[in-house]
Symmetry: C2
Subunit: 454 residues, 2 copies
């Protein structure tokens, strides 16, 4: 057999620290603002819904944050995740490119989301919290928090966007297997949900609404905290183990990526892969080209201004400065439920502002084409979200062929699509639509952005 | 961190040979018989539906059969599979037992079935075959052959038992993603299917009928061969990489199993894990206790006589000597579709006759209980089939606790249950029934066993 396909690390090589890119950025992130006063918030403002350890991580400027041993202990069930060389795909594309992927679908919940779910459940239990509430779109995050809750004896209540709830009954089954409760959102369990239902009884829901419901539950119950699966600094921080492991694995492969690719919904799987490499670059290391891939129907990084906005529809959350399409923006239907968020992680938004990454928007049909081509060669069936990254990877690999240049391309295969088969079935049945957002809707949502002097 | 959870091998340690237990058995297997003449068949009788390389493996008495390099090359995408120590489950059970599992769900198709699918597709392509036909029950095998077909450019047609076809639409979606065609069986594409439909238009189908359909297609088309996912000697042979890797991994763990456990439908995942250990025992090595776990509703090893019988309902296949409930036996409905076969691999049947293994039958509800307990500790959601093994493992671990003895228990976690969520949903909804087979039906099926002087 010729060179290796999988680059494996043993459990002793699980990183001991998470990497915080804030320490290496030339500019400090903008502070979060209180939704009532529009003044910068302090740790006490977040204390009703987050444990203090996570609040401190949210504002940390330290380069390294130690991973607690009980969290590393659980990471051992599936980490370090494999770095895989996609040799069959390379051959099928007849490209000189060297294509690698970091496969996060090996986690029990099927995606990278478990990396932060375990950490968040740990810190909450340490803080004496008994229950967690959260939202989920595609279901990857809700499943992950459900399992993490089982590991630490926490009750988990998941508000699942109603359209996904009905499209993906098996995600609910998975959450229940791990002992969590899964509720279609909007629900009548919260004031925020009841308000939406009164006005739009037939609504299919949105991530912004589900966040409002989950935050409301957490704010009103002292034994309950809120957990978010992306966007926030501490969530991105927890995902940096992906990129840190990849750096070690590239050393094993005696190679280094020229191009990094990830899909972006809230930004955490992209940041998790890319930030450790960007950090090395910022500290004088090799330059990498990093490409964030988003859906054309929800083009946050490519079309949204870098502005202060709410994280949710009900305007219960603090305002953060980010690329946003406006909290009132509802994207048209498409199958990558994990990429339907109106905003983008503030840190991913900031690194784009700093010129450290670029972003591209893709329609869903060519993404499924890419995912199917990948799957017929590499086996793994990617989540529809990850297909956005694969589209960009194949485009870049074909460019290598045109140019006769061999580049190393690394992407984050953030999760498998075993619970997203309906999307593939629709794709093969020719039922996928490449609907664009409505420009007038977007302008209306942008016009509602809160007026904050940045 | 204390001792390791996952025992990993790198790709150079993928076995170079499959292990053939026939070489070490004190008694030769009984020959297969021609369905018309009831005389022993020769290689030429099987040539219309199998490539000669596989026919020769079927009757081989060599201890080692070389794995072709192109097959090992593909195995590298997911093999060696991890050996995992279930430390959290041990703690939850408060048992001195050391519980290990070999996790075959890491394959793209989600189970051990891909091990033989790749090998079978390879040999067929080498023989100039263009198309493969097969049957599938739960869908693990059909999915695996679909992907293997994609790898070697073979068209794959899968006859899926009608009840599973409708229960598990996502399995069909997965097969189609890999380019295969999936048809509900009985279908009107074959004489065997049309005959059943004429008599029982509302039948939910059975593995025996689906096999008849697939064999008929292969027998009638020169460019088409048949592929079987279990039962036959060459299929079990291909699965022995599981046990061989496990032996190497136990050496890394500085341990050795006292008890081996696997679920049995056709017998291949059980044999794949157990035969290499039994071989070592037969050659003078350490004795292991091996437990085959089957559904109480289809108790082939615990209730079926060791007798010559047909492999299919339509009586197109050769007769083999095996534990069987009779080819006319239709088990009542239960959720482990992969364990609904009326017969058992002749080699697994023979090792039970020789006293080398024991078998136990389990009702499905306690199996799901065991699977959920496993999942809440180890994360992985097991296939309903594998839950039978987990039930026995937990029983044995609790016995260790009662007796105050530490034993090493190894089981084959043959696949994940991501496409079987409806079964878990039914379990939580209290909708699972522990239906027994009808004793009169069993006796009637046994009375129809062909009369062959053994």
């Amino acid at each position: 057999m010729d060179a290796t396909v999988k680059y494996l690390l043993d459990e002793t090589r699980i990183p001991k620290d998470w990497y915080n890119i804030v320490a290496d950025l030339p500019r400090a992130p903008d502070p979060a603002l209180h939704p009532g006063t529009l003044q910068p918030i302090g740790p006490a403002d977040l204390a009703p819904i987050f444990p203090m350890d996570l609040i401190l991580q949210e504002v940390s400027t330290e380069r390294h944050v130690a991973i607690p041993e009980p969290v590393r202990e659980i990471y051992r069930q599936w980490r370090p995740s494999p770095l895989v060389r996609a040799r069959r795909l390379e051959k099928a594309l007849d490209t000189p490119a060297r294509i690698y992927f970091k496969y996060e679908g090996v986690s029990a919940a099927g995606s990278h989301k478990l990396n932060t779910a375990v950490a968040q459940a740990f810190y909450n239990r340490e803080a004496g919290i008994r229950r967690l509430s959260t939202e989920t779109g595609a279901g990857q995050w809700g499943s992950s928090l459900a399992y993490a809750g089982a590991l630490f004896g926490l009750e988990v209540r998941v508000f699942m966007v109603k359209s996904s709830f009905h499209q993906k009954p098996y995600r609910k089954g998975l959450m229940e297997t791990w002992g969590a409760t899964c509720i279609a959102s909007p629900s009548n369990q919260t004031e925020a949900g009841r308000r939406v239902l009164a006005e739009h009884p037939d609504t299919s829901g949105s991530l912004g609404i589900a966040i409002s419901e989950a935050v409301e539950i957490a704010a009103q119950n002292a034994d309950t905290n809120y957990a978010l699966g992306s966007v926030l600094n501490h969530v991105l921080l927890h995902q940096t183990i992906i990129g840190q492991e990849a750096i070690e694995q590239f050393a094993l492969a005696d190679d280094y990526p020229d191009i990094l690719v990830g899909c972006t919904g809230g930004g955490s799987n992209f940041a998790g892969l890319v930030f450790p490499f960007l950090g090395a670059q910022l500290r004088g290391g090799r330059r990498v080209k990093a490409i964030a891939c988003e859906p054309a129907a929800c083009p946050t990084l490519t079309r949204g201004p870098f502005a202060y906005d709410f994280g949710d529809t009900g305007h219960l959350t603090p305002l953060v400065r980010m690329h946003t399409l406006g909290s009132a923006f509802i994207p048209p239907g498409f199958h990558a439920g994990g990429l339907r968020y109106h905003g983008m992680a503030p840190l991913v938004s900031l690194v784009q502002e700093l010129g450290l990454i670029e972003s591209r928007a893709f329609k869903q049909t060519p993404c499924f084409e890419a995912g199917v081509q990948f799957s017929r060669n590499e086996g793994i069936l990617p989540a529809p979200e990850a297909n956005h990254a694969i589209r960009a990877v194949i485009d870049e690999a074909l460019r290598c062929k045109e140019e006769g240049v061999s580049r190393a391309i690394l992407f984050n295969l953030s999760g498998h699509g075993h619970f997203d088969m309906q999307a593939y079935i629709d794709y093969f049945a020719g039922k996928l639509e490449d609907r664009s957002y409505d420009e007038a809707d977007l302008q209306a949502a942008l016009a509602e952005l809160p007026k904050v002097a940045a």
